[in-house]
Amino acid sequence: MTVTDAVVRLAIILGFFLVVPLLVGQMEHKAMAHMQSRVGPMYAGAFHGWAQLVADGVKFAQKESVVPAAADRRVFQLAPAVALIPYLVVLVTIPIGPGTQVGRNLDAGLFFVLAVMGVGVLGSLMAGWASANKYSLLGGIRSAAQLMAYELPMILAAASVAMAAGTLSLTGIAAAWHWYWLPWQVMGLFVFFVSGLAELQRPPFDMPVADSEIIFGAYTEYTGIRFALFLLAEYAGIVVLALLTTVLFLGGWRGPFYLGLGAAGFGWFWTLAKTLLLAFLVIWLRVSYPRLREDQLQKLAWTTLIPLALAQIALTGILKVV
């Protein structure tokens, strides 16, 4: 891999990182609006408000970025980057097509991805602690509790897939995928996706940010561009989660038909389509369900998801050995 090759790949990944989350954000604006019988943004960009997020970005950039006097200044300023950058790093190892259509194929790709995504949650913890605000602290603590509760089922579900594929490489896992994985790994798919939602603190698992009770939790004190970075991290997280779910459980770049469109050249298309479909599901769930209470949140993780994940591992192991 030459330097230019690496630069091109990183540029593509950066572009992907900057564009697709905005696409998801815009989709959330419009889909959520129509699910609520609204029309959503209509003015920015003149055509159905397509440039609404651009306008939002401009607005955030113009705003004053306040750092509270009592805040832990360095940590406070660093938190948004800690929340955002891991998702950019994760993108490097996620394949969008067969073979070399990946930023960097790591043999321990799955391990790397899960580890780095866990770092992203630290951004919320840092923000909650550094803000010197009790609501932020509450939000940070809830984030920590949620991270601890949902990281385990997520890793167990991913482990099931790794067992089935016999490799930790994301490219290898996607390549080893067969259609019968869908019924076989369906429990793992469910656990992984739900846990990922909870880690992203997306509704209905948004107890840590719960704007109506603890005023956006860890982000209460954030303004301007730093707040925008947190929002971007949220949408980037959606993209990463959808990508990972696609690669691990939905066959990655494989199309529904092994015809011309299913060829290697169109792999990226199917990956992207599945990703956006899952992103839409994330939005759909947000619109449809009310927020889970903190105790319900914990109960769901410890009494439902973890047993399900363990059962999935058992099932995978039994079938694999047999």
């Binding site: 609006a33 129509h34 699910m35 739900v194 759909w284 449809s288 889970l292």
Partner: protein, 522 residues
């Protein structure tokens, strides 16, 4: 997930997660439906007319009674007023005091739009308006003073129409009774006067009556007509109070002429109003009236000029009697003219008598029209206040002429040749073709009052349609009752009458008429 449990609890029948699926289905279904967003700034909301947007003040109705301010739960109405002493109208009476509104303000930053002030107002001075776009950048500007509150009145919607078969409002019933009583009284008085006048000028009166038996009857028995008028029209205000004519023997001084002209103008004004009303009822009749108004002016002038004019007036009157009915319409016109006429009533008695007859007859024609459209007659009634006599009679005659357009105009032409000759010519032309007559009437009307002119213009279209048909038949039926009829009768009387008063003028008029008719037809 805990979803299974939560879903099971609400409906135990369904599968685990059925509730969750239902939630997803609901949102997805909603997404496929059209949104209900109102594009407000771009598309104005379609508010019900009774929306509580803003409170409007009809300052004229406000008596500064303070009831609204006292009832206001927010105390957001501010009223300042002072008393003014109105001197006694008559020596024996006390001075009166009345409240003058200095300030009336509603603070919409406090108002909670309960509408209690509107309910409390006993004088219908406060109204709801659906307007709501009066947001301000400064809260102080939400204090609307009385000028602004008055401006909101223009946005208050018209109240909904009365239910079709509902009992009429008390106010309407009371007002109608009052008007009917007054009208009846006036009609009686007018009938008496008309009868007296008709009796006095037996020669002229007789002639008109004879040519057209029905009309003659009516002219002879004007009392009947007034009754009819009352029945037909709620506004039988017309009263031919003084049929005296100033026209005859004496030569009118310049001043008198001016007065007469003014009276004529007034008559023209009144007539237009009538015409408008008639237009509602019968287009043709209204047109005839409009025409008549102009002719009347000419007639007025003519009296000053020569005795022959009175004859013409009488003729006109005769013709009109055909139309029948009475004083009402004539009275109105007469009233306006009357004031002026009173000033120059010097004319000879015989002429006056003839004029009176003419007036009586003419009124009848108008009455017929009035019967057609009562509303017009009401308007006329209001005006009669001025009233008076001969001039009125003339005016009435003019109107009657309008009914029988051709006859009137010729007369006018003969009399007026000096100053108004041109106008008279126009009028004569116009009479034959109704549209033309309307046009001729318009100039005068405009001079007199724009409003009247507007009314006449409205009436014109209707007139125009009937006229073509009518004009060809001018000689036939003289009945002014129907819109189509009036034109016909008029032409007949005109030639005869015109010939009687003065042959030379009469001859020109017929010439004019044929010319005019083609124009009208065109």
């Amino acid at each position: 997930m805990g979803e299974g449990k939560s879903a099971d609890k609400p409906d135990k029948r369904g599968l685990p997660g059925a509730g969750l699926a239902k939630g997803l289905a609901t949102t997805l279904k909603t997404m496929t439906h059209r949104s209900v967003t109102a594009q407000y700034p771009d598309v104005k909301p379609d508010l019900p007319p009774r929306s509580r947007g803003v409170i409007a003040l009809l300052e004229e109705n406000c008596t500064s009674c303070m009831l609204c301010a006292r009832e206001c739960p927010d105390w957001c109405i501010y009223i300042d007023s002072h008393k003014e002493v109105v001197p006694a109208a008559e020596p024996g009476q006390r001075d009166r005091t009345r409240n003058v509104l200095d300030r009336f303000a509603i603070d919409y930053s406090l108002c909670m739009y309960c509408g209690i002030c509107i309910e409390a107002c006993p004088f219908d001075a406060l109204f709801w308006s659906p307007e709501f776009e009066y947001a301000e950048f400064d809260i102080v500007d939400l204090l609307h003073e009385k000028d602004r509150l008055r401006d909101w009145m223009w946005t208050v919607p018209v109240p909904p129409p009365h239910a079709e078969n509902a009992e009429p409002a008390k106010e309407v019933t009371a007002a109608r009774k009052t008007v009917e009583k007054q009208a009846a009284a006036e009609a009686k008085a007018a009938a008496d006067r008309a009868a007296a006048a008709a009796l006095a000028p037996s020669p002229e009166g007789g002639t008109p009556a004879t040519p057209r038996p029905p009309e003659a009857d009516t002219a002879e028995i004007p009392k009947i007509r007034p009754d009819d008028i009352n029945d037909t029209a709620e506004i039988p205000k017309i009263t031919v109070e003084a049929p005296t004519q100033p026209l005859p023997g004496k030569e009118l001084s310049a001043a008198l002429k001016d007065e007469i002209a003014a009276a004529a103008a007034a008559a023209a004004v009144t007539q237009p109003i009538d015409a408008g009303a008639v237009a509602e009822a019968a287009a043709a009749a209204s047109a005839a009236e409009a025409v008549a108004a102009e002719p009347s002016a000419e007639v007025v002038e003519s009296p000053a000029g020569a005795s022959a004019e009175p004859v013409a007036a009488s003729e006109l009157v005769e013709v009109e009697p055909e139309a029948v009915s009475e004083e009402a319409a004539a009275d109105v016109v007469a009233a306006e003219l009357s004031t002026e006429v009173v000033e120059s009533p010097a004319g000879s008695e015989p002429e006056a008598a003839s004029v009176a007859e003419a007036v009586a007859a003419e009124p009848s024609a108008e009455a017929v029209e009035s019967a057609e459209s009562v509303a017009v007659s009401e308007l006329v009634e209001v005006e009669p206040e001025a009233v008076s006599e001969e001039s009125v009679a003339e005016a009435a005659a003019a109107e009657s002429l309008a009914d029988s357009e051709a006859s009137v105009e010729p007369v006018a032409t003969s009399d007026q040749p000096p100053t108004e000759s041109t106008e008279s010519a126009e009028s004569t032309e116009s009479t034959e073709p109704k549209p033309a007559a309307k046009k001729a009437a318009r100039p005068r009307k405009s001079a007199a009052s724009k409003s009247t002119a507007a009314k006449t213009t409205k009436s014109t279209p209707r007139k125009a349609t009937p006229t073509p048909d009518l004009t060809p038949d001018p000689d036939l039926a003289p009945a002014p009752a129907s819109g189509a009829d009036p034109p016909k009768p008029k032409p007949k009387p005109r030639p005869r009458k015109t010939a009687a008063p003065s042959e030379p003028p009469a001859s020109p008029t017929p010439e004019d008429t044929p010319e005019s008719t083609p124009e009208a037809g065109g």
